[in-house]
């Protein structure tokens, strides 16, 4: 009898246990009840608030929401995002009263805050052009590597030079940005073998600041250029000894220090449109930083730590370029080009004499540039949200 009772108890226990297991929970799927949510919580009141209610709300929310604290938080968040924020903006975000004119100014300023940003993430609908890993090979055009004086500074082993470009175009916010990851490897048979380089290979990711797009700019090419010193670190404007800095000013269709006709890229006090931009001194800096001249017997030579008082010393760095050309108005495809450029010529070429003599010198230097590049046409992927988590 006791045994039967025990078995019945056991059955009841398991039945209860199984009933509990019949609870069911579904996997996460796209929601179908958002409209229901909106409908359920969207009603308007036609009853005006009385003064007592207004006073209660003011009193209680003043306790709950500490405006001073919130202003500090707003400022901290702004710093985190690299944004400057003025007192009027803080007041608005903290819920303080401001006059409408100021509020309008704040809202208007918010429209322009997407320029030169380094922290943008794609939003739904953003076009993404991703080259994937690309192997760069030496450009054998006659415009490049005309000097026979020096050894090729790039490692020519297949796969040694690599880059990846990712470009984002956000049409809704009318902004685009991108970045390029590059691995540069110097030749073991060149000066790397004798330990002259601080680093024989280096990998960097350059994040390009965002820029505005419009109907006219989209079809043009966009470029991102960086000079890396021989130790693999990025050359900063502060390290340059000219006015603007030695950040390469390449803004022409092939994104090279050498133009399609073999001349050096234009550096002048006025650019081709007559606007002041990159000065001649920047060309001098560029030649110094990407110069790999190994003629130690006379004239310029490598000096891995640049001394501004000795501009005849070259640093043996590399210019890394990225170019995107959006191929049609629909922006479905884009052509991405990555390039590494460095020169074997005398970096003092074009530094002195008349303007005509400087031009000849600069073009002679440009002819010694060695270029590795890779180009890929990719179809834009439209960002649909992050499904990786």
């Amino acid at each position: 009898m006791k045994k039967n009772k025990f078995i019945i108890s056991l059955l009841v226990f398991f039945l209860g246990f199984n009933l509990n297991l019949q609870a069911e929970i579904t996997v996460a799927t796209p929601s179908v009840i958002l409209t229901q949510l909106a409908t359920s919580t969207s009603f308007s009141s036609d009853v005006p608030l009385d003064q007592a209610s207004i006073d209660t709300i003011n009193e209680t929310t003043a306790t709950v929401v500490n405006q001073e604290e919130m202003k500090i938080e707003v400022e901290a968040d702004a710093v985190k995002l690299g944004e400057k924020i003025d007192q009027a903006e803080k007041a608005v975000l903290a819920g303080e009263e401001v006059d409408n004119e100021k509020l309008l100014m704040v809202l208007n300023s918010a429209k322009d805050d997407l320029t030169s940003r380094l922290d943008l993430e794609p939003t739904l609908g953003t076009y993404i052009y991703d080259s994937g890993p690309m192997v760069l090979t030496q450009n054998t055009s006659s415009n490049y590597n005309q000097s026979t004086d020096n050894t090729n500074m790039f490692d020519q082993t297949e796969g040694a030079q690599q880059a990846r470009i990712v470009v984002y175009i956000d049409f809704k916010r009318q902004v685009q940005w991108g970045d390029v990851t590059s691995t540069v490897k110097f030749s073991a048979t060149s000066r790397a073998a004798s330990g002259d380089y601080n680093s024989t290979s280096f990998t960097n990711t350059k994040i390009g600041g965002s820029s505005r797009i419009d109907a006219h700019s989209l079809s043009l090419n966009r470029q991102l250029n960086t000079t890396y010193k021989n130790d693999g670190t990025e050359l900063t404007v502060e390290e340059s000894y000219s006015e603007v800095g030695a950040v390469p000013p390449i803004k022409h269709a092939i994104n090279s220090l050498v133009l399609a006709n073999g001349d050096h890229a234009p550096y002048s006090d006025l650019d081709v449109d007559g606007n002041c931009c990159f000065k001649k001194l920047d060309r001098v800096d560029m030649q110094t930083y990407i110069g790999h001249d190994t003629d130690n017997s006379s004239g310029p030579s490598l000096d891995l730590v640049i001394d501004p008082s000795n501009p005849d010393k070259a640093n043996a760095g590399v210019n890394v370029g990225a170019l995107i050309v959006v191929n049609n108005e629909a922006a479905n495809t884009g052509t991405l080009t990555a390039s590494f450029e460095a020169a074997t010529g005398d970096n003092l070429l074009g530094n002195s004499g008349t303007d005509a003599q400087k031009l000849v010198g600069a073009n002679t230097y440009a002819a010694t540039i060695i270029r590795f590049d890779a180009t890929k046409t990719v179809e834009a992927k439209i960002f649909e949200g992050d499904s990786s988590r």
Partner: protein, 191 residues
Amino acid sequence: MNNLKNTFLALILLVLSNTQVFSKDMIGIIAVGIGKISNQSNENLITGSKIYFGDSIITEAASTAQILLMDQTTLTIGEKSELVIDEFVYDPQTKIGKIVSSVKIGTVKIITGEISKTNPDDLEIKTPTGSIGARGTEFAVVTESDTKSTVVLLGPGVNNTLGMVPGNLRVTDGNINIDITQPGFQTVVFK
């Protein structure tokens, strides 16, 4: 036997006394009240009404209430809904506390506040079919009946540009846990 009885009584008293600590404290306010809203004592609640620990907030058809709790957690209650604040402890100095709330029926949207920011595990929303733990996020719960509840993560996304902690929900029916990390995704819990 008497010892056991005494211990049991003492435990009950202890539980009751702990509850009393919070029962008269105001824990929030109806920041917006539209339509007919009442509490467990059938008192009408309007915009500005205070919410106390243990209150039930009940909305009728075409009515909605937005509750702002002391830690800045915001609860938006849809029409024909009932929400109970089961537990609310909050220290404004340390911003440490705990919220446990039950969605008995209807729709409730939650935007987490300081308590969840300080320790995400200290916010729990219960439904008749399961419970939800939330990390720095905005989400909604729709309880259709005692046997079915739907939970939706509303945001923010992983790559949000505001630098906010990405939303993360853990929904459980007592046996199985489902994590929702992508805004706009839902899970349904049946019993």
